[in-house]
Symmetry: C2
Subunit: 527 residues, 2 copies
C-alpha cells in the first residue's frame, strides 16, 4: 500500500500542505495515490537525524555495510510484482525494462557490498617512521578514505530504480559510510516510496542507526534546494536536466561551506562516421543507429543525438536507410506528458530551423504521450554557426551533420561541449588517417566507443559514466561502477597514532587482509 507520506528515519510523516499525484502516461490519467510534500520542519528533521547517524555509520565496518546493502537488494526483490506494476504505471516503460532495471539496481547494491566487504577501496597508504632520519626524524603516517557526511540523492526521471531511491548514487554513498536522504522524483513518487520502505526495513533488520536513510516527497524544486542549502548536508548526487543540475551546483558553490555536487546532466553523444566504414557498411550502421536512437523511446542519457560525417554517396545511403527504419519503428511511450510535450516542442524547433532538412519524421497518429521519432540533417557550416543546434532533444531524435571535408569535421567536434560519450565508426586502418578527429573527440568525452552504439551503459569497474561539463559537473568522477564510491569520501591521515587506536584498515596486523601501499609497495601482508 502506498501511503504518500515522507519517511524520516523510522517515522512516517505528512505534515506539509502541498499534495500531488503521479501520472500514468500509457493510460493518460493521474494515478490514484496522493503524496504529501515534505515541509521545512520535516527537511530539518531528516538532516538532523542523518547527522546523528553519521557518527556511528561513518565507522561501520565493511561487513556491516555489506550486510545492509545486500538486505536492501533482498527487500527490493521481496517487493515482487507490486513494484513492477507501480513502476510501469508511473513511467510508461515496459515490464521487461522494469525487471531489467530492478536487476541492475540489485546488482549495483551487491557490487558495492562486495567492494566494501573486501575493503581495499579505502586506498590505505602507510609510511612507517624513521626515527633516526637526519636532519629530522620521519613520523609514522597512515592514510585512508573516510566518508564526508550526509548526502542528498535526487531521483532521476528516466531511471526510476537504478538511478533513483536505492540506485547507484544511494548505493555508493551508503557503501562509503554516508547517510542518505533521497528526494524522490515527483514523477515516480510511489515507486520511490516502495523502494524507500524496503531500504527502511533493511536498515532495521541489520541494526543501522535510524538516520542512515530518509525519504522526502516533493512536487517541485523547493525541497531539493532546501536540502542542498542545509549546512548538515555534505554532498549531492543528481541525474537530470542541465538547468536542474546547474541550479543545484550553483546553490552548493555559493554556500558558506561549498559542497561537491555530482550532477550528471545528459549529453548529445556525438558519433563520427568515417568514409570507409560508410562505404563498407552504411546500411548496417543505419539500422543499428535507428535502433539506438529509439531505444527506450530515446530517453537514455547516452542516446546518440548527433551523427557526424563527411558528405558522400554512402552517407546519403546511410541517411536513406536511417530514415526508412526510423519511420518503420513502432513509436514508444514517453515517461510523462511534460517530457513528451518538451520533446515535441524542441523537436519542432529543430525541424523549423533555417537550413535544417528533415530526413525522418513519423507522421502516423500515435497514442497520447507516445513520441514521433525524427531525424534531421544540416551542413557542418550551419551547425557551426548555430549554437542552438547543439542542444539536447531528450527523446527519439537525432541530427546528421554533413561536413564538406575532414577539416570541417574536426572543427565541428572542437565546437562541441563536454559529452558522456563519443563514438567512432571506422575501419581499423582508417583511424590513423584522422588523428586530430580522435584527439578532439577524446578531449570532449568520458567514454570513447569504437564501432558500436553509445546506449547500453555496462555496470563494471572500467565504465566511466560522466564527462567534461556539461555532461557532468565534475569530470574527475563517475556515477556508474564501483569507483563511484570515491565521490563521497576524503582522505585522512593519522600521524604517530598508537596501533590499537587506528582503524582496522591501518593497523600493523592488517586484520582486514586488504591491499595497502606500504612504504611505496602495494601489499596485503601485515607490517
Amino acid at each position: 500500500m502506498i501511503t504518500g507520506k515522507n519517511l524520516i528515519g523510522n517515522q512516517h510523516s505528512a505534515r506539509g500542505n502541498t499534495v500531488f499525484t503521479t501520472f500514468d502516461p500509457q493510460l493518460n490519467e493521474e494515478n490514484e495515490w496522493k503524496f504529501v510534500e515534505a515541509s521545512e520542519e520535516e527537511i530539518d528533521a531528516a538532516v538532523e537525524l542523518a547527522m546523528e547517524a553519521f557518527s556511528e555509520f561513518s565507522t561501520a565496518s565493511g561487513s556491516v555495510k555489506a550486510a545492509f546493502l545486500r538486505e536492501i537488494a533482498l527487500q527490493i526483490e521481496g517487493l515482487g510484482d507490486e513494484l513492477i506494476a507501480v513502476y510501469c504505471k508511473e513511467s510508461g516503460l515496459t515490464e521487461g525494462r522494469a525487471k531489467g532495471e530492478r536487476g541492475r539496481t540489485c546488482f549495483q547494491l551487491r557490487s558495492f557490498a562486495d567492494l566494501v566487504e573486501e575493503g581495499s577501496w579505502v586506498n590505505a597508504t602507510i609510511d612507517t617512521a624513521l626515527p633516526d632520519r637526519d636532519p629530522i626524524p620521519k613520523p609514522d603516517i597512515r592514510k585512508m578514505a573516510i566518508p564526508i557526511g550526509p548526502i542528498v540523492v535526487f531521483g532521476a526521471s528516466n531511471f526510476p530504480l537504478a538511478y533513483s531511491t536505492a540506485g547507484g548514487d544511494t548505493a555508493s554513498a551508503l557503501a562509503a559510510g554516508c547517510p542518505v536522504i533521497v528526494k524522490s522524483h515527483p514523477m515516480h513518487a510511489a515507486t520511490s516510496e516502495l523502494v524507500a520502505f524496503a531500504v527502511r526495513k533493511a536498515a532495521k533488520q541489520t541494526g543501522m542507526p535510524e538516520g542512515v536513510f530518509s525519504h522526502l516527497n516533493s512536487s517541485g524544486i523547493e525541497v531539493g534546494q532546501a536540502l542542498v542549502k542545509h549546512p548538515g548536508i555534505k554532498g549531492v548526487g543528481f541525474t537530470g536536466s542541465r538547468i536542474g543540475g546547474r541550479a543545484l551546483f550553483d546553490i552548493a558553490a555559493q554556500r558558506r561551506e561549498p559542497i561537491p555536487v555530482f550532477a550528471e546532466m545528459g549529453s548529445i553523444n556525438p558519433v563520427v562516421l568515417l568514409p570507409e566504414a560508410l562505404e563498407k557498411n552504411a546500411t548496417t550502421w543505419a539500422r543499428k543507429y535507428a535502433a539506438s536512437i529509439t531505444l527506450g523511446t530515446g530517453q537514455f542519457c547516452t542516446n546518440p543525438g548527433l551523427l557526424l560525417a563527411i558528405k558522400s554517396e554512402e552517407l546519403k545511403e546511410f541517411m536513406n536507410v536511417l530514415s526508412e527504419v526510423l519511420e518503420a519503428t513502432s513509436p514508444g511511450c514517453m515517461l510523462h506528458p511534460r517530457i513528451h510535450e518538451k520533446y515535441t516542442s524542441l523537436k519542432s524547433e529543430m525541424i523549423a530551423g533555417k537550413e535544417v532538412e528533415t530526413i525522418a519524421d513519423l507522421r502516423d497518429r500515435v497514442a497520447p504521450n507516445y513520441a514521433q521519432q525524427s531525424a534531421v540533417t544540416v551542413s557542418g557550416n550551419v551547425f557551426l554557426s548555430h549554437p542552438k543546434l547543439h542542444q539536447e532533444v531528450f527523446g527519439p531524435f537525432s541530427m546528421v551533420v554533413v561536413c564538406d571535408n575532414a577539416a570541417e569535421l574536426e572543427r565541428v567536434i572542437s565546437s562541441l561541449e563536454g559529452q558522456l560519450t563519443g563514438t567512432l565508426i571506422a575501419e581499423k586502418d582508417e583511424i590513423k588517417r584522422y588523428p586530430n578527429i580522435l584527439q578532439n573527440l577524446k578531449n570532449k568525452v568520458g567514454r570513447l566507443i569504437f564501432n558500436g552504439v553509445p546506449t547500453g551503459v555496462e555496470v563494471c569497474p572500467s565504465m566511466q559514466h560522466g564527462g567534461p561539463y556539461p555532461a557532468s559537473t565534475d569530470s574527475r568522477f563517475g556515477a556508474v561502477g564501483i569507483h563511484a564510491i570515491q565521490r563521497w569520501v576524503r582522505p585522512m591521515s593519522y600521524q604517530n597514532w598508537p596501533d590499537a587506536m587506528l582503524p582496522e584498515a591501518l593497523k600493523n596486523a592488517n586484520p582486514l587482509g586488504i591491499s595497502r601501499l606500504v612504504n611505496g609497495k602495494l601489499t596485503s601482508e601485515p607490517l
Copy 2:
C-alpha cells in the same frame, strides 16, 4: 640576471604598463629589480600556447614526462647560490630554510618523475568482453586517468619554492600531462623568474612543446582572475589566504564551464591537551608548542593557533611555561611588511578582545618586519560565543581555550570550521575515555596527529595536506605527496577499441608492466 619579463612559452615578453618591485624585509627596503605585469594579450597568448601544447603533452609517455621533471630539478639545483640569495632577499627567511625548501622542491619533482615513469598511477581498469553473455553481450571496456587540460598555479607567499613556481602543484600537474601557467607571487617575483627560467631550459632540453609552461608576473589580483576566467584553463592550484582562495573558487564556479579549484587556505590547527598528558608532561609539551608556534615565524599553514584543554593546575603550569619560553624565543622576520602589518593588527584585535587574557607578548624592541610572538587565553564559553576568536592570525600567535569540562571541550571542537590538522595530546589509555572528542576532531580535519606538533608536513604518499572547508576547497584531494596528481586527471573509458589503437597503459600485452585491475583482480600480468 633578473629580467622582470613574463615568459610566454619561449618568449620573454613585457608589453604591460604596470611595473612593480619586491621587498627585502630584513633590510627593510625595496629590491632593485623591476617586474612588468602581464597584459591581457600576454595572458591570452600564454593560454593559447598551453592549449596547443596540451594535445601533444597530454599523451606524452611517463618516461618523457619523468625526464622533463628530473631535468627541472637539475636546472633548479644548477641555479646554485643565486637562487638562495634571491630567495632570502624576497622572503626574509634564512639560508637554511631556503636550501631546505629547494631540496624539498627537487624531491617533489623527482617523486612525481618516479611515479609517472612507473605508470600505475593512471588506475588502469580493464573488463574484457563476454560476447556470449545472455541477454546481451558484454563489451570490452578499459579505463584510465587522462589529464584535464591547462592548469593555472598561483605562487604561495609562504613557500617561494616548494609551493610556488615549480612546487607541488606545478610538479603534479606536469606529471599528469597538463601544461602549466604560473602566476608568480608578487612578493617573490625574482625567485619565481629564476625557477621559471630553469623550467623553460628543462622544457627545451627535453623537447617539450613550447606551451607546456609559461610564467606571468602580477602585482595584484587581476592577472590571476583573468586566468581563472579564461575558457582554455581547466583547473587551478592555489595556496594562500581564505579571501583569495574563495574569490578564485567563486569565479571558477560561476564560469559557463565550471572548473575545479584546489585552494588550500590555511587553518588554525586545533590541539587538544587531555588532562593526564598535562599532569605528566605539562612542561615538555609547553616547550614543544612554544617552538612549533614560532617555527618559521609562525608562517606555516599548519601552525598551532588553537590549544584546547580542560581547566586544571597543570594547565596553568603549561601556560606559564609556554609564556616563559615564547617570550624568551628570538623574534623572527616576517615575509613582507604587509604580512607583518596584518599580523600586528590581527594580534592586537585578539588581545584587545573582551574577556581575552594575554599570557605572552614579546615587548622587546624588534627590527622592522620582525614579529613579536604572543599567546592569549579565553574560556571555552567566551570562545563559543565569539566567532571572531576562531579566525586565523597568520604568524607566531596562539590561543589557549580553557574549558570547564569535557562536555564543553566537545562543544568547542564541534564549533570549529574545517582544518588541515587536529592534534591530540594524551596518555594512551586516556583516549578511550573521550570518544566524542576524537570523533568530533576527526570530522574537522585532514590529518590527525597523536602526541606531536602539526608543523612539519612530511612529503610522502600517506600525507594528507588538505581538509574540510575552509582548510581547502575540496577535501577529497590533497596538495602534498603523489596522490596530488589525482586533482588534474579524469577517468576515461575506451569501449570495444582495437588493441593497437589503445594507449600503452591499456594494451593487452601491458607493455608498461603496470599494475591494473583486470576483471576485478589487481595484476601486472599481460592479458
